[in-house]
Symmetry: C5
Subunit: 361 residues, 5 copies
């Protein structure tokens, strides 16, 4: 239980360790998700691509001079020293550095003089544990370069690397802003997949409930509700973030890319719609579940009570003729026993008919 | 169950298949609702009408040169190649093409340099299955032309074709913007019909509940609530879309048409009002249903418990005189039996009177 | 049941019959509330009043030339032809005509070049059937004239006619805009009366519930909630409508009248406040009702269960001494019977004392 | 019951009597709270104070000429004639007059050419009847004068009179705007006291509920919720009112006073915070109450059912050996009775142990 | 109970004692949390630091002349005289003084001509009593100086003092605005710690509920909900406060510091997110708790009812053969007793099988 929650953590990620430090002091906040920091550099222009799969800080420093578009990707954030050096090479603000290594950030866009800082949440749905895992992605969009920071190595950006290598699409012929957009688009595409999986899970649970197989479904519904809570925290601020970029007057973002950002905004609204729809659907499932539970319980209680009610008057009659009075005329009748048994059958049958007539059974 | 949901799908329509593709790559997302793509072209001016019922892409290309108003209608979206060619003829943005073939779009208006792109949802209520079916409609409003994309052939736009042919109303004497407005108006008129039918269904269920015939009504109420959820997703964004057109500074929309758009906006607000009212009414029905169920249950339990309660003390009395003590004076009394029977009648009657007095029965 | 709902209809008023017609085609949508169309004209200035109680279209046409303020009132909207002719005389937009004869309109203000079109809802509370009846009122405010359209003859505007005739107040000395304001004020005054009556009804129900007389009150509360739903739809849009007039830059509305419109706006806010307060109060009554029902039920069940619980152990004791074992020493004791009876009295009394101590009875 | 509600009336205060009257016709709407109208005038400047405790209309008229700051206070609003004369002396708008004598007004600020009209609600909590009583206060802020209208004589403004008399604070050296502010501040101070008392009452009820003494607490909670409903209607519009004054460009309000108005605004926000917090707390109390009631009920039912359940099998065993079969071997055993009694003890004890183990008792 | 509430008081802090006083009259409102007022002064510039740990008012007066940055910290607010003198030395507005000594203030920023007044709430979570304690912090940011007012001595600002002393970070080289920002940042860091602790507590309760150990958890959940209510009142207004500073045009705040304020704003949004998430989680826990309680209760009732239901028909059969009719053939059968016992076993077993089949047990 505890373990799971750590992942999609609403927990402040032990930010408390930072308390008292000067603002702008970079401290890694989060889980160490891989061992070493990996740096890769892609330098491309319309004419060609150059790729450095395990680059050093020195390579980064050199690349600053280049005229082509550069994409520097960093996997692993726990080695604060390395990241600090890197950010200094690109003269990033200390607060940006602090935010990059703090995986508890919420999605936002911050414009600085010579770069734009973007925070995104990468989402994946763990089919086995039925939970989302959320990873922090930071992007730096500067003139002619994009730096992306991931908590751990993932394959989310592979299709983009492929597109750069093959030169398909408009990536190679567009600027760094289009690369940044493409990365954001890849992240958002991941949301669709994750929510689709959650949706399948919700449908399974829905069908299980309708089929009356409802042991423990309440807990599942509640857990999924909580998952959606975390999800909302990732997608709602993203809306504002994209809208801010779209309206930005920064020269770093071209008009052509803004058309694509508008499309991205629409996709994000679609994701929000889906999240909100699932929330409503889960709410409805919760109600259906509760009312089906209580309906079943009522049925049980009703049938049992009816059985008791029929036999209690009969038992009374039997009790009457079990009394030991010396003078009880019926006892001496030849067919008294059978008459009484008949009366009891009539009473029982009458009650049954009455209950049926009132539609209680 | 599964089938139904596919239609009014909150499902992301397997957008996941698109993940990793370059933005602007057109991929058909949706259900293939008809076999072949049908293109029809109407060219009209104040003076006359020319109609091509099964046109080819070549016909479309030729029509570009025309001075009259052209309305190109496409039924069937799965043949991406054809649609791509068509959009290239009218130099539409790749993102527009991508949106046209993706039936999961939400209603929106997007202004490009030389055209306006509109997405609408066509609504029809399936009386038999008691569900809405929602179809995507895309409109391209350019200078002197309108292109409409439907997922499958429908009769929604037939009255407009008739009006163009006969020259009644102001259609023939107005521009392409009025045609686009007329198409939107036709779609919105369809909402009124669909919601009217849903309303009839809601009234039927309401009356069934009040008549006490409530088996399974809970599930029906929940399903209708879900239907309204999807419906809201179609009509709320439409509001923004129409308002955007009304306030647009694009030369493609004339002031005269804007007056009509304002009217359309009002109709849409009316639709929204109806949807929200039905939501509230369904909420109220849900409450009434629950309280009527629990009221009935209470009545049953009460009556049964009262029967049991009356007989339990009587059975006790009978039990007392069924004891086998050697010395029990009452047993030897001549009329002991009748006295005890009388006492029991008094107890039973007294309890009945007491219960009635306290209004329990 | 069906009948009632027709009146305060959330039903789209069979707008479906309009589907497919050209926008601006006038079709009467609503119930035919009176047989013939009645037209009356009041022409007045500071100096005098002229009144035509059953005017013809010809009279209307002539009045256009007049310099005095003219108030043309039309009762009955089903004769579309007549109303169409009239609106053409005053060169009204076809959409205005369409809206006038459609009683399903929501309150709104629309400014055209030479006139302002206003839609209002007249409200009256039917004491006998405990429902609101809502009637559509349309006003045309032009230069020097006001045209008012009512679904049927009513006495709402009589005080205003009296004030014009007698010359009291500022009506005779003000322009057409003040007349339009006065008509709106009269409609709003009607709201206060209607809500007052609803309030009395709510109080009656509240007292009945507190007095424990609650059969069927649930249905009444739900019906009143629904009534308030319709009411809200009349008063909320009115707020925007008045505010729009107040801020209008149209020369048709003078600054002096705007002060009065601000007052009207305040009255409308008061009406909204009352409606929302009643909604909250009804919500509270609903809760009280439910909890009083369940409380009563609990009381019943508790008392009955306690009776049963006391007698069940006693019956057991009696059953023990009703066993037929050959050797049961107690049975042969001289006072065995009385001892056992005493023990049973102690058990019963003890349970009673215990229950009372735990405050169960 | 009826009586109480009249006081904090959500009732439209029989505004219906006004229906049909010309706008601006002053009609007293409210309860006549005192017999005669009392007018008092304070004329003060930096140098001195002059006080007229029972002034006449003539005194008011004369005071108009004065150069000092004048504060005219009127207690009692039912004598419409007197108030009409007074307002005419200061050339107030007829709508202002109408609003002054209508105690159903909601808080608002209205700027006219030469004065500002303010409506406030004075609040006091009646400790005995546990209800708020709400009184209407109207203020006219003109150049060098303030006129205040109260429904009945109260001591709310006495501290301000004292401060004027003694010359303490900045009142004597400031303008009429500071006097108006001081009066508003006094009204708001009254809110703190009233809500403090309500808070004490809420705490008492909360403790009574936690102590299990909950007879009738439901009704109390509901009544307090209703009281807060009325309260909200007084404080929320006040927020807008003060904010409007603060941002007003009227020369009647000086920059120095605006600093104080900002402070007043903060106080009002604090009052709103408190009201909303109490609403949330009452909502929580409602839930706690319901769940404690149902918990107690459950406990009762459980214990009673357990008693019944233990004795029912035992009674069955006793019943078996009460059967009259001729051949029942156990009956003839020497210690049959004791064996059976032992078996019954084992069954009863066993059930008790089982129940305890499952934590049912 | 009463004690606890005093601390996180929603109580208006007996503001009533202020009623009737002139606005701007400083009255200490709150709890006296320490005995004497302590003043400390830090004077620093890029070159060095001077520290006065127990300063006098005289020291403060002298420091006014200094050119370096001065930070005056005051612990203890009950000695209104001292604080009044101090504020007069810095020519603060009387309303500022009044707000400083009133611990019931809500967070706000107020700009005056020569200084900015800030109110913050310091938060700490008392692990033992599981409640937040909230303390009022006031900051005065003037040209080259910051004055901070705390209700009692705390160690929250110690890290900042250390940073000034050691000259680490940019504090020594920045202006007074950066100092004010650093103090606010320290307060906000405290929020993370406090909410982290609350989160741990919520998780403990959640796990206890899931483990079925739920005695009294309802009260705990309600108390935590209330705590979050108070918390929200501290963090929501802070958002507006920081945003106001960030957008301020005051020369007292430099552009460089504004970048840091934007970061602070983000942190505050994160805190708000956490608070809202915890609210939702507590709401969900409440639901889970209720449904687990009712589920358990249902289980108990069902099992008990089933036991009763099985034995009631059996007891009836036993009762039948306990009747004393002279002619009851079964009684004379040789194996009548065993046959009946067998029949009873069959009935009981049959019911058990039936119940199991319907999944009732």
């Amino acid at each position: 239980m505890r373990k799971r929650r750590k992942t999609t953590s609403y927990h402040p990620l032990k930010r408390s360790i930072k308390s008292g430090l000067a603002p702008g002091t970079p401290v890694f906040v989060g889980e160490r998700k891989q061992d070493d920091v990996q740096i890769s550099i892609m330098t491309y222009s319309h004419d060609g691509v150059e790729e450095l799969r395990s680059a050093t800080l020195e390579d980064c420093r050199k690349s600053v001079a280049s005229d082509s578009i550069r994409w520097i990707n960093i996997n692993g954030l726990h080695d604060v020293k390395t990241i600090e050096t890197l950010t200094r090479q690109f003269s990033l603000h200390p607060l940006t550095l602090e935010d990059i290594v703090n995986s508890g950030q919420r999605p936002k866009a911050e414009e600085f003089h010579h770069y734009i800082f973007l925070v995104l949440k990468m989402l994946s749905y763990d089919d086995a544990r039925k939970t989302f895992s959320i990873e922090n992605i930071s992007l730096i969009l500067g003139e002619n370069y994009v730096i992306s920071f991931q908590e751990k190595k993932g394959d989310l950006f592979d299709p983009i690397r492929d597109r750069i290598r093959t030169g398909k699409g408009r990536l190679r012929s567009s600027g760094a802003d289009f690369l940044a957009y493409s990365l954001m688009d890849a992240v958002l595409d991941g949301y669709f997949i994750a929510i689709e999986k959650l949706g399948d899970h919700i449908e399974e649970v829905d069908e299980a409930i309708l089929a009356g197989n409802d042991t423990g479904q309440m807990a599942v519904i509640h857990r999924m509700k909580r998952e959606l809570l975390y999800l909302r925290k990732s997608v709602w601020p993203l809306r504002e973030e994209i809208s801010q970029l779209e309206k930005s007057s920064s020269p770093l973002i071209s008009a052509a890319t803004k058309t694509f950002l508008r499309d991205l905004y629409d996709h994000n609204i679609q994701v929000i719609d889906m999240v909100e729809t699932y929330r409503d659907i889960l709410g409805g499932m919760h109600d259906t579940y509760l009312s089906s539970i209580s309906h079943r319980m009522n049925e049980v209680m009703k049938v049992l009570t009816i059985i008791a009610t029929i036999f209690i008057p009969l038992t009374f009659v039997a009790g009457v003729y079990g009394m030991n009075f010396q003078y009880m005329p019926e006892l001496e009748w030849r067919y008294g026993y059978f008459v009484v048994m008949g009366i009891m059958a009539v009473i029982g049958g009458g009650l049954l008919v009455y209950f049926r007539k009132r539609k209680w059974i």
